[in-house]
């Protein structure tokens, strides 16, 4: 048996590149049993190379995991590699090779409705640029390279395409092609980089560890352009119905959640009598329509809502208490406030550790950290500001936060020591052999708004009507 440190650790992507990466690994004899789109497990072992281990991550996590040395090698889109390197050029991350497959590009796009058709056209407008993006570092670098004189960047967890033109004048986003952008009501202004899959390595591993057998497998990567994850042709893009509604000043602008929260939110809204086409009917239209002319709706990520409310882009939003608190921990004087607890979607935000760790509560953990057991304690969380405050309030020191974008429970025990995450039943934690040592708070869905008054008494009356209607659902 080799010691654990001599094992080679590989970070593999979920999502858009999973199938094509699995095909490639099979072709070059690096097969991992169970690496397919139906997999429920996160930890894999190579069938041909017994000392090669792999873990499946959200693609965005992979460059960070490789850069900090938790993994020797990784495969992910070059867009996420550049997002890290743009901001942290000295990261210990080496791009080894382009894997000759990928999908689409990172684009700069604006709304078709603005009439702007080029970057120069946008520059000529001399307005402050509001840039929305899942890639805030690439967005900043793009704006600086154009010498944009005044810009603000709004990082989002997703759905960047729905913000222009009302809530942003530029989106930096991944798309498969121009037609997909157009189908979403966007106009392509610039291609920033192709979203190709890339093999990356940790610099120290490359300098000090024998990875040669694995690397040489990649010498024979075929130039197979048909390995795209989904057989994709631009012609097959379904045009979404992009409502040409305007955010009129008298309208109440409402944000509804996508993802896990959509179903319970839709049920609740239906119960109180709102019939929203493209939302309460189980479909997902980013701009669903409702038979109330004073209500404009967009569907965005619940994580992004408090920031959007604080900036006045929306008047009301249905999100979780957890995301409101996460926002308020980051921006304590933000005007975003809770207006109404909606009582559904109950989760607990907990601190959890590996089952085998001999701690029962946070006090035990503090003693272990003080005793020098962790240098430092590695804390994985989607809620980095909640986690940061919790650790400070409990005098845990030193610690290092590892931001994650979902599936955080898979980080323990190899890549993190403590998890701050939400749980519904606790079953997932149990499956990953984790135990809860503290409950930070309980969170349910809630309606949030901006504490600064709405722009007119008429709007206030409509918002009040909306709140009163929702209250009926709580009885």
């Amino acid at each position: 048996m080799k010691p654990q440190s001599e094992y080679i650790k590989f970070a593999l992507p979920k999502g858009r590149f999973l199938s094509s990466t699995a095909n490639l690994l099979n072709e070059i004899t690096l097969n991992f049993g169970g690496y397919n789109s139906k997999t429920r497990q996160y930890r894999l072992q190579s069938t041909n190379f017994p000392y090669l281990l792999a873990k499946i991550f959200q693609e965005k996590d992979i460059p960070i995991q490789v850069a900090i040395g938790n993994y020797d090698l990784g495969i992910c889109g070059v867009d996420w590699v550049e997002e890290l390197l743009t901001r942290y050029p000295t990261s210990a991350l080496i791009k080894i090779s382009n894997l000759n497959y990928g999908e689409g590009h990172i684009y700069a796009a604006t709304s078709c409705q603005t009439g702007v058709s080029s970057i120069d056209g946008l520059l000529a407008k001399r307005t402050s640029w509001r840039i929305i993006s899942e890639y805030p570092n690439l967005a900043q670098s793009f704006a600086l390279s154009l010498r944009v004189k005044d810009f603000n960047i709004f990082p989002v967890w997703g759905a960047a395409e729905v913000y222009p033109p009302e809530d942003a004048n530029l989106a930096i986003l991944w798309a498969k092609g121009k037609k997909e952008l157009e189908a979403k009501g966007l106009k392509l202004l610039a291609k920033l980089l192709p979203a190709n899959a890339s093999l990356i390595a940790n610099r120290e591993s490359l300098e000090n560890k024998d990875l040669s057998k694995i690397l040489s497998c990649f010498n024979n990567v075929p130039m197979n352009k048909n390995r795209a994850a989904v057989s994709y042709s631009e012609d097959t893009v379904k045009s979404e119905v992009v409502e040409k509604f305007r955010w009129q000043p008298e309208k109440i602008r409402l944000a509804l959640p996508d993802g896990h929260q959509q179903l319970p939110a839709a049920e609740f809204l239906k119960r109180v009598g709102f019939d929203i086409q493209g939302y309460t009917d189980g479909a997902l239209n980013r701009r669903p329509s409702v038979n109330l002319d004073w209500l404009g709706i967009k569907v965005i990520r619940p994580q992004d809502m408090p920031l959007q409310i604080a900036n006045g882009n929306f008047d009301l939003a249905i999100t979780g208490n957890d995301w409101l608190l996460e926002h308020l921990n980051r921006f304590p004087s933000s005007p975003a406030i809770k207006l109404l607890d909606l009582l559904f979607g109950k989760v607990k935000i907990v601190a959890a550790v590996n089952k085998n760790m001999s701690v029962a509560n946070i006090d035990d953990l503090r003693l272990l950290v003080r005793g020098g057991k962790f240098v430092p304690l590695r804390v994985a969380s989607e809620y980095i500001n909640v986690a940061d405050k919790y650790l400070r309030d409990n005098y845990i020191n030193p610690y290092k936060l590892i931001p994650t974008w979902g599936a955080s429970e898979a980080f323990l025990p190899e890549d993190a020591d403590l998890l701050i995450d939400n749980v519904q039943t606790g079953r997932t934690l149990a499956q990953h052999k984790l135990k809860i040592i503290d409950v930070l708070f309980e969170s349910t869905a809630c309606l949030i708004g901006n504490k600064n008054a709405l722009s007119s008494p008429d709007k206030e009356a409509k918002a009040e009507f909306f709140i009163q209607t929702l209250k009926k659902g709580l009885l």
Binding site: P89, T90, R130, S141, L144, S145, R147, V148, K149, D150, F151, N152, I153, F154, L307, A310, N311, H327, R330, F331, P332, S333, S334, A336, G372, V375, P398
Partner: protein, 414 residues
């Protein structure tokens, strides 16, 4: 756990601070004597301040320490001051723009990310801004000031290199490139990559006649520039007027016997400069630089031509010999034989009286030894205490009975 210093940050120890203050004092004294007034700007500024003028290159902006403040939900980023001049220009526009001329100076730290972490990411500079000074005498004034300060500090082998940003920009326009190409060449040159100009020039061979001598030779008087001017009769009006300005300034410097060398390619990072710009070197090390920046304040919404310079404290500290910065005050050590209430009271009272008489006085009740003292006064006994006075320089010793006698003794021997 070891408490480490942040990468790229430095501690100033006692000897470093003495050296720092020595430089700062020489700089402040000179500025005050030339009629300049001191200002200080905050460490945090909005990122917008530095992007708004479009004068800093993307590569410089990418090294800025920027973050969201606790109330930064609007996406407005704040930065640790990356440059000394732009904040002072803001201060001037906000507060002093009614003055026709404002002559300001400051001692400040600036922050820029340096990748290896081996160089300082926080650097100190002593800066001067002459706001509202349009005449070439203002350029000559700041060049004279910086030379005076460097001489006062006792630095030898100073090289003053001159270039002219207006001339460079006119020269780039002479190449006749597309606007995108021109912006690229300009950015590369601003980042110090002069190869861009040499690569681009081949497109217009008629420029070679004067471009090559202008870029490669190092003139030591205004005659050099006169010669170059004679080689380019067909140059643009912008080029000619910049050349005229450069010749006038160098002519005045010649008259003042201020030595310099014209080295167009030596200077980098002249993002916002529009006219003459310069840098100072000692033993090949860049210790300061400056120039004219007439467009910066108008781009920020004000209205004033300006020029200025900064002296870089960190390299100057490395050049100054250590250990010669001790204060020349007479240092006195009052030692209490024991820490009894009476002896302690007598020690503190005597120390206070001596400090009022401008002595530097330390009190000590331990056995430790001290360096660099002129006097040691040992206090012992009770009702009344005895005073044992030692003149360390002359190796003499006296016993005296009262505070008054101590004062007289010290005054007499000084």
């Amino acid at each position: 756990m070891e408490n480490q210093r942040c990468k790229g940050m430095r501690d100033f120890l006692c000897r470093d601070m003495a050296c720092f203050r020595h430089i700062e004092d020489a700089f402040r004294t000179c500025c005050i004597r030339w009629g300049y007034q001191e200002v200080r700007t905050p460490t945090l500024e909005y990122l917008h301040l530095f992007t708004a003028t479009g004068t800093l290159t993307p590569s410089k902006l990418n090294k800025i320490y920027s973050f969201l403040d606790w109330d930064g939900w609007s996406g407005e980023r704040v930065v640790l001051r990356p440059d000394g001049t732009i904040p002072v220009a803001r201060l001037y526009i906000n507060n002093l723009s009614e003055r026709e001329i404002a002559k300001l100076f400051y001692v400040t730290n600036i922050f820029a990310f340096e990748e290896t972490g081996r160089e300082n990411r926080e650097r100190w500079q002593c800066g001067v801004e002459f706001l509202g000074g349009a005449q070439l005498t203002a350029d000559v004034e700041i060049i004279s000031m910086v030379k005076e300060i460097v001489c006062k500090l006792g630095l030898d082998n100073i090289r003053l290199q001159l270039s002219h940003a207006g001339l460079m920009k006119a020269l780039i326009r002479e190449l006749g490139l597309s606007s995108i190409e021109e912006a690229k060449v300009t950015d590369r040159i601003l980042d110090g990559d002069w190869q861009a100009l040499l690569e681009a020039k081949t497109a217009k061979p008629e420029l070679n006649r004067f471009l090559s001598p202008l870029l490669n030779l190092k003139g030591k008087s205004s005659d050099f520039l006169q010669n170059i001017r004679a080689l380019c009769p067909g140059a643009s009006a912008d080029f000619k007027s910049s050349m005229e300005d450069f010749i006038n300034i160098t002519t005045l410097l010649d008259r003042l016997s201020c030595g310099y060398e014209i080295d167009i390619m030596a200077i980098r990072g002249f993002e916002y400069y529009t006219g003459v710009c310069f840098q100072l070197l000692v033993d090949g090390k860049k210790i300061g630089g400056g120039g004219r920046y007439d467009n910066l304040i108008p781009l920020m919404g004000g209205n004033a031509p300006a020029c200025g310079f900064a002296l870089y404290v960190d390299p100057v500290m490395e050049l100054l010999p250590l250990g010669n910065k001790k204060g020349d005050e007479a240092r006195v050590l009052i030692k209490g034989e024991e820490a009894t209430p009476e002896i302690a009271k007598t020690c503190f009272k005597l120390a206070q009286s001596l400090r009022e008489r401008k002595y530097v006085v330390e009190i000590d009740f331990s056995e430790q030894t001290h360096d660099g003292l002129h006097w040691i006064i040992l206090i012992s006994g009770s009702e009344p205490c005895r005073f044992d006075v030692t003149d360390c320089k002359r190796q003499q010793h006296w016993n005296v009975a009262s505070e008054t006698e101590v004062f007289n003794m010290l005054a007499e021997q000084n």
